[in-house]
């Protein structure tokens, strides 16, 4: 079963993203982290197939998390999506430069998110097969 990590400080937003992903058409296991610290603790414990993260968070922010994930060889291969309310374009571009695979603006369209996630999960699986 595919395992997805959602990093988001808003509880409501986490549930919304989680319920969107529960209807992917294939069963997925979803872990939720309320902040960057929790994400850092969860990462080494489970093998994730996808990470979705917000940018504006207390303690460590989304960019710092993306930078960490993409610089650590254990996690660098996990597809990562930034899901963030429209804000600084510079931050968004920086996220992509740091290696985020996609960017989604909140409010997001659930179908759009599912399409993107299915695509990224498939890509991850293929590269996994090859490796």
């Amino acid at each position: 079963m595919k395992r997805i990590l959602i990093v988001e400080d808003s509880g409501t937003m986490r549930s919304l993203i989680a319920s969107t992903l529960e209807e992917l058409g294939e069963p997925v296991k979803i872990d939720e982290a309320e902040n960057g610290f929790e994400a850092l603790r969860l990462l080494p414990r489970n093998a994730y197939d996808l990470i979705l993260t917000d940018i504006n968070m207390p303690d460590i922010n989304g960019l710092e998390l993306v930078s960490f994930v993409k610089r650590d060889e254990r996690y660098a291969g996990i597809p990562l999506v930034i899901v963030s309310t429209e804000g600084s374009e510079r931050d968004r571009d920086k996220g992509l430069e740091l290696g985020a695979d996609a960017y989604m603006v909140k409010p997001f369209d659930p179908d759009g998110m599912r399409t993107l996630v299915i695509d990224l999960l498939g890509r991850g699986a293929r590269s996994g097969d090859e490796g």
Partner: protein, 688 residues
């Protein structure tokens, strides 16, 4: 059809979740605006951390309300976010007008939130919101302060690349202020990095600012994580290293503080106009002095205690006055002046109540601060134990006396931990029992009159009543023959002899130290009660008075003695009908609407050795579901009392909570109702 209904329920649940989170955000913003106004008055400048926290709140509110189709609210939050962004980026200066706009925005957002789901009402607000947005736009139209180019800072690319726009701005602002920029490295075990990291962040904040906290792969395999903390401080490198107790190689210098720089550091610092708030040479904001923006003051709680005590003393004098007035009014010779005095005394009573209310109001704080701690603890437990448990919290806005809130932390934490550790089963066991894998602990607070109810419910294994009973027999707490109802047995978990035993706690699903919980809550004048269903879960209910400062009590009399009984534990009072009195096994009972009510004579309870009166009253006391009838000779009316602790031998008498002074100057003992009821429960007189 069913699927549609399910979806609709899910949607309304999500909406309720949105409303409650939005309320929390608005509450946080209100707090932050208060702090902001305060920090302006205190230091004359806006605290960047508060401004950034406000920006994050507005940003979250924009995203959330947008997600739920609340266009007007989202638009308003968006404009608010714009103001805050300009402020945090140093592109505008905080003034009185901006503070006014913040205030209006939060109030209006809260009003809009109340109207969610009611489209007509929401439309009525749309115009007001549009007007406010117009004024925010005007404020935002003011020319931006110019921003210089970023200074040269010797930082690795990996750090610079991960800085948000705001973090970059803070970096430049700190350089402009002549602070040194350092990179502090710290490595921790990944399982427990949070405390260590927060410690070092706290130490940095004492002398400067943490600009960014970047986690990095440790290089070492597996269990460690490294953090690079981008730090700004006025201190020279050696002093900072010493303050943070760092190893020599754990800190690198990106830029020396001004004055220490080998070359003239000010040469490449940006124009001072970048930092109008900090720099004395920057032009002051026209006509808007910051003198009186805040109207809040911080007060030591002890001063409030003194004030409360004085109000209590006044209340006592007032009742003395009332008694004199009544005597005068009843005497024909003085009845006119007596009646006048009664009137004055009534007004005085009303005003005193208002005064009391105002002082109490100042002491009240929301339970949120305790609940936030619970959330953190459960989150930590969840990670440590790999148990799937969800914590649901409701009623965090319920307010209690600050002193009670502080004393509540430990017992409440204990109850929640017990639920997590012992009540919620491991995932495999839950699945085998047909339960959802994720356990749930609900903490709900609500106000009932002058009490606050806090319940902690879990959907775990529940308490094995039979095991508790057997254990109680084993330790000699009850005898084999004692007939115990279900709730009596459950109540035994609060007994010291039982609840501290590890073996019971492991198997019964409830943990250690419930006796401590009950005595702590009892000391606050509160009550604890438990309900449990095997296999389905348990609920621990804590009932607390809103304040300890003043307690309304019923004064009862037996023979020449008088006692005060806290009104919050009295369910009703009755005239004792001797025909209803039954005696079994030397104990007295009466029938109260079909239930057997165990009775106690206050006279016997304290061995006063008085004669039985012709007429007697029953004061029905309640602790949770348990009831006890206290037989007294007289009911002498209600009074506000300030309970004082007593010293000496009486202090150890069970059933006495303290002493208080009455209006006529006499001192009486205040009964400890929970102890009295507990004794009856323990003796097995209460049945279901």
């Amino acid at each position: 059809m069913a699927a549609r209904r399910k979806r609709r329920t899910a949607a309304s649940k999500a909406q309720a979740e949105f409303v409650s989170e939005a309320e929390e955000i608005l509450e946080r913003m209100r707090n932050d605006f208060g702090l902001l106004a305060e920090s302006l008055v205190g230091s004359g400048e806006a605290d960047p951390e508060i401004v950034n926290s406000l920006f994050r709140s507005a940003h979250s509110l924009k995203g959330l309300s947008g997600m739920f189709g609340q266009e007007a609210m989202s638009e308003l939050a968006h404009h608010l976010e714009d103001i805050l962004d300009r402020l945090r980026m140093g592109r505008a200066t905080l003034d009185r007008r901006a503070l006014g706009l913040f205030d209006e925005s939060v109030t209006l957002s809260a009003a809009a939130l109340e109207k969610v789901g009611d489209e007509d009402a929401a439309e009525g607000l749309a115009e007001t919101i549009a007007d406010l947005i117009g004024r925010i736009e005007q404020w935002n139209d003011a020319p931006e302060a110019s921003r210089g180019e970023g200074p040269d800072v010797d930082l690795p690319d990996s750090i610079l690349r991960a800085l948000t726009e705001y973090e970059e701005h803070r970096l430049h602002a700190n350089v402009a202020q002549g602070r040194g920029i350092y990179l502090v490295d710290a490595t921790f075990e990944i399982a427990a990095f949070e405390d260590g990291l927060q410690e070092i962040q706290g130490a940095i904040r004492e002398v400067g600012e943490v600009l960014s906290t970047l986690p990095s792969p440790s290089g070492a395999p597996g269990s460690q994580i490294r953090f690079s903390l981008l730090t700004a401080a006025d201190l020279p490198p050696d002093t900072l290293r010493e303050r943070l107790e760092l190893a020599p190689d754990a800190m690198t210098i990106a830029r020396l503080p001004e004055g220490l720089a080998p070359e003239s550091a000010s040469a490449d610092a940006p124009d001072v106009s970048d930092q109008p708030a900090r720099d004395a040479s920057a032009p002051a904001a026209p006509d808007e002095t910051l003198k009186s923006i805040s109207d809040t003051v911080r007060v030591d709680i002890r001063k409030l205690d003194e004030l409360m005590n004085l109000v209590g003393e006044l209340a006592i004098q007032r009742s003395a006055l009332s008694q004199i007035a009544n005597r005068l009014a009843q005497d024909p010779a003085t009845s006119r002046v007596g009646q006048d005095l009664v009137k004055v005394q009534k007004t005085l009573e009303r005003k005193l109540q208002e005064l009391q209310g105002s002082v109490l109001d100042v002491r009240m704080v929301p339970l949120r601060q305790v609940f936030d701690k619970l959330t953190r603890v459960v989150r930590r437990l969840r990670l440590d134990q790999e148990k799937e448990v969800r914590l649901e919290i409701r009623g965090a806005d319920t307010e209690l006396d600050k002193l009670i809130v502080e004393e509540l932390v430990d017992p409440l934490m204990h109850v929640v931990r017990n639920a997590f550790d012992h009540a919620i089963e491991p995932v495999a066991e839950r699945e085998a029992a047909g339960k959802p894998a994720e356990g749930c602990i609900q903490v709900v607070a609500s106000q009932r009159g002058n009490d606050v109810l806090i319940s902690v419910s879990d959907d775990g294994r529940g308490i094995d009543v039979e095991k508790v009973r057997r254990r109680a027999i084993e330790v000699g707490l009850v005898s084999e023959e004692t007939e115990l109802g279900r709730s009596d047995i459950l109540d035994l978990i609060f007994h010291p002899g039982l609840s501290t035993r590890e073996e019971v706690t492991e198997t019964s699903g409830r943990g250690v130290g419930m006796d401590v919980v009950r005595s702590n809550i009892g000391a606050l004048g509160g009550l604890v009660d438990v309900k449990s269903e095997e296999g389905r879960g348990s609920t621990i209910t804590i009932m607390l008075p809103i304040t300890l400062a003043i307690i309304r009590a019923l004064i009862v009399g037996v023979g020449p003695h008088r006692f005060a009984v806290p009104l919050n534990s009295i369910r009703e009072t009755l005239l004792l009908d001797p025909d209803q009195l039954q005696r079994t096994e030397g104990r007295e009972l009466m029938n109260l609407r079909g239930d057997a009510l165990p009775l106690r004579r206050l006279d016997d309870e304290f061995r006063l050795g008085l004669e039985e009166p012709d007429k007697a009253y029953v004061v029905v006391l309640g602790v949770g579901d348990a009831r006890l009838g206290l037989i007294v000779d007289r009911l002498e009316g209600q009074q506000d009392t300030v309970i004082k602790p007593i010293q000496g031998p009486v202090a150890t008498v069970r059933g006495v909570a303290g002493a208080t002074e009455l209006g006529d100057g006499g001192a009486v003992l205040v009964l400890d109702v929970s102890a009295l009821v507990e004794d009856v429960v323990r003796k097995g007189e209460l049945r279901e």
